[in-house]
Symmetry: C2
């Protein structure tokens, strides 16, 4: 008499993707393979949780070995991610019931959800509803966010690589301007991500090792933007060093909470002209001081920059995927594996855990002690925090002069349920 | 009786800098050192030709060996560049006379000028005026421009690295959008440099190996922008592939020569809002189709990206610096060493020469045969041209997680002339 087949696992990617989220997927997949008696298949949701709602389950066993290995060096969400926040159980119970229906049909008892704060919340709810509907699941959240704003974990996978890209790009652009400023560009502005917390902009501070070195000014969402004080600092910097490099968080705002990038206007064709913080700042400076400027907006380039991913970040992303499976195998539920810093230098860290009901929907802001007195830079304490996160260059392979990134075949498992077009 | 000292050489960087212009400097410096009997010192102009006018001559012999080696892996202009176009000899003879005065005072008989089309013109004029004033110099132009628009040379040092960065960034951003497009961003626009010629945007086409792969649309300065046709192509692409990636040259313009980025407007504070092509395009698309979009403007990041410089580009930059000195040593004057392509695959090239009076002030546009029929992509012929230029990854060394770039000491040679404050 054959034994009951081992239950299956579901893995999905949620929210904005990163340079190393696929390394977490590899951690889940490779570790699950070590427990053939407890885990049957690993299915991945096509386009995140939507894949479960639509019963679009990618059969990972049908991907080639090379593709699975390639996850370690491929940015973005290889299985598709989604921006889709499940409502509360009481508001939309049908959604949760559908998830459980799909999981039941495919004998899925492990739920690994790879995302930020919203998805930690979803993960927690999936765990609860399974219990309530008599189909208990083990739900483990694998943290990921370039915003670095999850609580309990010292840092978040995905952040270290953005931090490295932003610090490196700041340094490179600064070298360019330094060589041009005698007769040309005096001010350069790099706009980076970070709507609510200044972690990414703060990491750019690593590019500077002295007052003279760029970035000379960092603008954080946490520090109210004061135009006069800012303009004075720009002028002082240009007069002292010949040029001024500014790194600005997209969430830079005034004391009354108005985003600097928020104001809109219409151009000659009647099109609404959407701000962009960097051109806005450039223009404020130009009006006041007349300096020639350049600006860059890194946007997706910063979070997709697998070509210069941090080795630390890559290892941590993998380890937390691995830890998620190990936690499930140890019978745990409704947890998130975390990164616990043991020491700054030499940098040591280990995996810890946090209970999901405490993680969900919290944002961790940069501590006040990380901002310099004038609010335009970072402190030594902040440097000690950021420095290890950007260490190591985890280069991908190149083919024809470009990084070789994998695209999965995405064979879907045969559907077992009648069509349901609600999602 | 001591022999007359060997005459000295002057080297200067001109115009917009690149990821590899310092490798050309290294080529000049290292090769000059092989001819101690014919070349005494190599002086570099601090901030380009201004360094000669101001008698601010950097004494390269006082830089450390490590710094000179570091030029190979440091982006930007290590000696300072400048945007300063010498006027015609008849309009401003004093400027040329001053140059000759400084060169005479420092026994400078070799003039190596590292720049684009404008500086080729300057180099030619310096050669002429030296002759006329009875102080003949050998003037050799070392080509450099990310714009890739110099005639006679198959490609220009500096271009290959930008091409690699832009193609790589396009691919990375495309992976990001592909994983988000089911529920989020549908359109991504990367704005790249190129005011008059579409070489840089064209190179982004290497990121795509099939119709489905990004970039789906490239906008070139050479192809008139037609809003309706463009919008139809965007829609068709999103409907077919789920998303659309656009790479746009900053010089994109309509048939009547109006730059798309050119129109200005005022925001709520009364500040003039300067365009930015990428947000303009994003807005046109949003108005027409309602697609969620993201956009990035690479600006200086693209030309300073030494961290992912092309090995081919680096080698060519060095070789043309080397060739310039060898030409001077062979008694040549008013020439520019060029890159001559011998074969596409395997890629082979050699150094040629072009007469400066034919190089100056010409722009080489992308040939019509490089544009696809609809003008939104590149042909196979273009691919064969671009492909070898991005080959190889010439990684710099890293320190504390960031590229280690050198900053020179810039010891100035003692002045020999009375102060002259005209420059």
């Amino acid at each position: 008499m054959p034994a009951d087949p081992a239950p299956n696992a579901f893995y999905a990617q949620s929210g904005g993707v990163t340079a190393v989220i696929n390394a977490s997927a590899a951690g889940v997949i490779n570790t699950a393979a070590l427990f053939p008696e407890k885990i049957g298949q690993v299915y991945a949701g096509q386009n995140g949780i939507l894949g479960a709602l639509r019963e679009e389950l990618i059969d990972i066993s049908r991907e080639s070995e090379a593709s699975i290995q390639g996850l370690m060096t491929t940015p973005s969400g290889a299985f598709g991610s989604c921006r889709y926040k499940l409502k509360g159980i009481d508001e939309n119970r049908a959604e949760y019931e559908r998830l459980i229906e799909v999981f039941k049909a495919h004998n899925i008892r492990y739920f690994f959800y790879n995302g930020g704060g919203d998805s930690a919340d979803t993960c927690q709810k999936v765990s609860e509803i399974g219990e309530r509907l008599g189909f208990p699941l083990q739900a483990i959240h694998v943290p990921k966010t370039i915003d670095n704003d999850l609580p309990f974990t010292d840092n978040c996978p995905g952040f270290g690589s953005v931090a490295k890209y932003v610090a490196l790009s700041t340094r490179e652009a600064a070298f360019d301007i330094a060589s041009m400023c005698a007769t040309s560009t005096k001010v350069f502005i790099l706009e980076v991500m970070g709507r609510h917390a200044g972690w990414i902009a703060g990491a750019a501070g690593l590019a500077s090792r002295s007052e003279a070195e760029a970035p000379h000014i960092i603008l954080f969402p946490e520090i109210a933007f004061e135009e006069e004080r800012f303009l004075a600092k720009v002028k002082e910097t240009v007069e002292k060093f010949g040029f001024c490099v500014i790194v600005a968080s997209e969430g830079t705002q005034t004391a009354d909470g108005q985003l600097l990038s928020g104001s809109t206007s219409r151009d000659a064709f009647g099109h609404v002209q959407l701000g962009g913080l960097a051109p806005k700042l450039a223009n404020i400076i130009k009006q006041a001081h007349g300096y020639k400027y350049h600006w860059a907006v890194a946007d997706y380039l910063q979070r997709a920059a697998r070509h210069i991913a941090s080795q630390t970040d890559l290892e941590q992303a993998y380890s937390l995927g691995e830890a998620a499976v190990n936690l499930a195998m140890a019978g745990k539920n409704a947890l998130m594996p975390t990164i616990v810093r043991v020491s700054d230098e030499p940098y040591e860290w280990k995996v810890g855990t946090a209970p999901l009901d405490e993680v969900a929907n919290q944002e961790k802001m940069m501590p006040r002690s990380f901002f310099s007195d004038d609010g335009y830079g970072i402190t030594e304490e902040a440097r000690r925090y950021f420095q290890p996160l950007i260490m190591g260059e985890a280069y991908p392979n190149y083919q024809d002069g470009l990084p070789h990134y994998v695209t999965l075949d995405r064979h879907l498992a045969p559907k077992k349920l009648p069509p349901d077009n609600r999602w």
